[in-house]
């Protein structure tokens, strides 16, 4: 069993005490992540309606820098998932201004679609920053992004996996399949995903052998 663990969330609030409180709790979460043997601690931003885009970025840079510094003391990477809020340009700005080697991206392959980005292009763009992965696929149906088994949606999954095969990290990056169905059996979808993944992995390995 490999842990893939959340350490908390950073509140991008206009109230500085709320920012600090969220940072404190998230730093406390790092200890748990380190204790159970995680290599990467995931965290997410929580937005506030009165904070504009520029303000979010300013607050996030301050908090993410300090979180990354605290994580370094535990020998951890901290990873921010692409999820709903920010697009690729935002991540690029955040990584550049934070300037911390152990701050990285949890590359959720499906979520890029929701953000209006191309998963393969963003995977290639942030290849150096990927510290963890959620392998997920979506299909757009009647205006909703529906979670589907890998290879059955709109993500160019095999190319995305190939792009992440030899990531420049000193550890083997964990890439779990993920589904978030609106109906039907998660187990059936997971089995379809794993069968697909087995085919792709075997194909890549045989080419590299």
């Amino acid at each position: 069993m490999k842990p893939f663990t959340f350490c908390g969330g950073l509140y991008l609030s206009p109230k500085s005490w709320e920012q600090e409180e969220s940072l404190k709790r998230t730093i406390e979460g790092l200890e748990f992540c380190a204790e159970i043997g995680s290599q990467v601690a995931m965290f997410g931003p929580r937005f506030h309606g009165r904070v504009a885009r520029e303000g979010r970025m300013r607050i996030a840079i301050n908090l993410c820098r300090r979180l990354a510094d605290a994580a370094k003391d535990y020998g951890l990477y901290v990873g921010l998932e692409d999820y709903e809020y920010w697009i690729g340009d935002d991540f690029e700005m955040l990584f550049a201004y934070c300037d911390r080697d152990n701050l990285g991206l949890i590359n959720d392959t499906g979520n890029w679609l929701i953000e209006g980005e191309d998963p393969l292009m963003q995977t290639l763009r942030f290849r150096e920053r990927i510290v963890g992965v959620h392998l997920k696929d979506y299909r757009l149906e009647e205006g909703c992004w529906r979670s589907v088994a890998l290879g059955r949606g709109m993500v160019d999954m095999e190319r995305v996996i190939r792009a992440m095969w030899d990531l420049p990290k000193p550890y083997r990056v964990l890439m779990p399949t993920e589904t978030d169905l609106d109906g039907g059996s998660e187990f059936e979808a997971q089995e379809q995903s794993l069968a697909y993944l087995r085919e792709v992995v075997d194909r890549i390995k045989s080419e590299k052998a």
């Binding site: 663990t5 990056v173 890439m175 997971q190 794993l194």
Partner: protein, 45 residues
């Protein structure tokens, strides 16, 4: 380095086939699925 592939179990939202929360059952079945296809079980908490 070559990645490690796994099957993710989302512990806090894991349900059985009836849609009821059943994280332990989900974890066990997800782990078995991972082993069947030669991938490591993983957990997200």
């Amino acid at each position: 380095m070559e990645p490690i592939f796994g099957v993710m179990s989302m512990y806090d939202v894991a349900c059985n086939d009836q849609g009821e929360l059943a994280p332990d059952l989900y974890m066990e079945r997800a782990s078995n699925l991972g082993k069947k296809y030669g991938f490591v079980p993983t957990a997200i908490t």
